[in-house]
């Protein structure tokens, strides 16, 4: 009897199967370990925050200590404005920079830019805050929404730029050739064909960047400040959810703690809604099937 069932090879076969099972179990455990904190955080935020959520929270201004009720309408709007301002700064620079790196980035300059972008994405957010504080807040003598937007925008640039670059690189050369061979210039090819083809991935990069900055408190403490009042002027201090959470959480009042949890829940939901909405708006009708 040769072949499939000979003694020695049967033993080896069993050993291989055992090793396979063990590795499978280890991999699954690692996945669970990775998901667990995420689930716990979500659970905790919902459990603690849900009780503080009501209509007032979305429509009213904060109340002074001791007075019950009140909301964070100003901080919610402020956060949206700050994210909008940041996108105004971060998206054009990030996307165009990424396109440059992908299409023309075969030189020393591009290599340097790439390196600096990677370094910048690792810089602690508080340092970016200090930088904008020195560049904007000090000369204008006031904390402002503008400064906050600039700080968040600077933080967006590396993420958006590098993901745009990677995704633009992935667009098949044959699409570029098709466009060029029809007499299109390089820039038109990039904007009408390549970016359209890479849209899905670029949007993912943007969402990652937005999600990251939407939850930042540290740079905003130094730039946008905060305010218990309505503030939609970008040359004035602007309240935001993360800063509000921070302010409320470090106070010794149970009311405020509840408000802080509710704000955390709103912040998480806001990021989720933004992601889903952006995906829906830019969903690819003309997905490439390969």
């Amino acid at each position: 009897m040769s072949g499939l069932h000979a003694g020695r090879s049967r033993l080896r076969h069993l050993r291989r199967r055992a090793a396979n099972s063990v590795m499978w179990v280890v991999a699954v455990l690692c996945v669970l370990a990775a998901i667990l904190p995420l689930v716990l955080v979500l659970y905790y935020v919902i459990a603690q925050g849900a009780s503080g959520i009501n209509l007032d929270f979305f429509t009213k201004l904060p109340k002074p200590v001791g007075e019950p009720g009140g909301g964070m309408a100003n901080a919610i709007v402020g956060s949206l404005i700050l994210v909008g301002l940041a996108s105004l700064v971060g998206l054009p620079i990030g996307i165009l920079g990424g396109v440059y790196l992908a299409e023309f980035g075969n030189n020393r300059f591009a290599w340097t830019v790439r390196f600096l972008a990677d370094v910048l994405s690792g810089v602690p957010s508080i340092v970016v805050g200090i930088f904008i504080w020195a560049m904007v807040v000090v000369p204008t003598h006031r904390l402002s929404g503008m400064a906050g937007g600039a700080a968040l925008g600077v933080m967006m640039i590396p993420t958006v730029m590098r993901t745009t670059e990677e995704l633009v690189r992935l667009v098949p050369m044959s699409l570029r050739e098709a466009s060029l061979s029809l007499g299109a210039t390089h820039w038109r090819t990039v904007f009408k064909v390549v970016l359209v083809a890479a849209k899905g991935g670029v949007v993912t990069g943007i969402l990652l960047a937005v999600s990251r900055i939407a939850g930042e408190a540290a740079p905003l403490l130094l730039t946008a400040g905060s305010s218990p009042f309505w503030s939609t002027r970008i040359d004035q201090p602007m309240p935001s959810l993360p800063v509000q959470i921070f302010t409320y959480a470090i106070q010794p009042y149970d009311d405020w703690h509840r408000q802080a949890w509710a704000a955390a829940l709103v912040l998480v939901s806001l990021v989720c809604v933004l992601s889903v909405a952006a995906r829906y708006v830019t969903r690819g009708r003309f997905r490439m099937v390969r």
């Binding site: 075969n106 098949p172 044959s174 699409l175 570029r176 050739e177 098709a178 466009s179 060029l180 061979s181 029809l182 007499g183 299109a184 210039t185 038109r188 009408k192 064909v193 359209v196 083809a197 690819g284 009708r285 003309f286 997905r287 490439m288 099937v289």
Partner: protein, 269 residues
């Protein structure tokens, strides 16, 4: 330039003399960095004919095709020497606008490569770029181009649908329609059927016969039967050299060069 060609039934053999030279290539050398991909190629492509280029993989036939609309330029380290004249004008002259050149010399690629847009937008892309038409005129132009590409009847109800929803053969005809929309004079085809099934291939070949009445076509193909079926003249490339060029009937039945004979009889390649 006066063309002396007369309307002839597609597929019938025609005398070379009836057709004026459309593209004249003289002493063409091409290099990828240090590697010389084309060695002193000389040949004349005649108007309103189908010229086929055959040869084994890596023999330079695609490189030669791409030299005819300067698509080789987008490759880094590429260098071209010699002359390629379109209607007597050197396309490698410094004053030549490559955008205008590519409008006159269109290209269809090996794999169908429609843009990630609707069927309509695919065809409308190039006319928009060149400002040829807009509004209702553009719609007419798209319809006309798709009709010429023998695709209109199949897609007229799904113009707004994704181009990727079409079959491979339809996609390739869409790519042909996309080229025809700018009304080029020469259409270069780089193994246009290699990714298609036999039936789609047949449709494309029939289409080529029709297009031949209006356009000059140069086709690179691995398929010698295809070259014999569709073309009036054939060139055989080997190691970057044009070994033999002449009427397709001669190349396939009575070649002069031993290497050509070995190749067309299937002894190598």
């Amino acid at each position: 330039m006066i063309s002396t060609s007369i309307a002839v039934q597609p597929g019938s053999l025609r005398q070379q003399g009836d057709h004026t030279a459309k593209v004249e290539v003289e002493h063409l050398n091409f290099y990828y960095g240090r590697f010389q991909a084309l060695k002193d190629v000389n040949l004349t492509i005649r108007e309103r004919q189908i010229t086929a280029l055959i040869g084994p993989s890596g023999c330079g036939k695609s490189t030669f095709l791409r030299a005819l609309n300067r698509m080789n330029e987008i490759i880094e380290g590429a260098r071209t020497e010699g002359q390629v004249r379109l209607d007597g004008e050197d396309i490698y002259d410094r004053d030549v606008d490559v955008v205008a050149l590519r409008r006159r010399v269109g290209m269809v690629f090996q794999r169908p490569n429609p843009f990630p847009m609707s069927v309509f937008e695919n065809v409308a892309y190039a006319p928009r770029i060149h400002g040829l038409a807009r509004g209702p005129d553009l719609e007419d132009l798209v319809e006309e181009s798709l009709k010429r590409a023998a695709l209109w009847d199949e897609v007229k109800d799904k113009l707004k649908g994704s181009a990727f929803a079409l079959s491979g053969g339809q996609q390739q005809r869409l790519c042909i329609g996309r080229v025809l929309a700018v009304d080029p004079e020469v259409v270069l085809m780089d193994e246009p059927c290699s990714a298609l099934d036999p039936l789609s291939t047949l449709r494309i070949e029939e289409l080529m016969h029709e297009l031949q009445q209006k356009y000059t076509i140069v086709i690179v193909t691995h398929n010698m039967q295809q070259a014999a079926r569709v073309s009036q003249e054939t060139g055989f490339f080997l190691h970057g050299e044009l070994v033999e060029f002449g009427p397709s009937t001669t190349i396939f039945t009575d070649p002069t060069d031993k290497r050509t004979e070995d190749y067309v009889t299937g002894r190598f390649g």
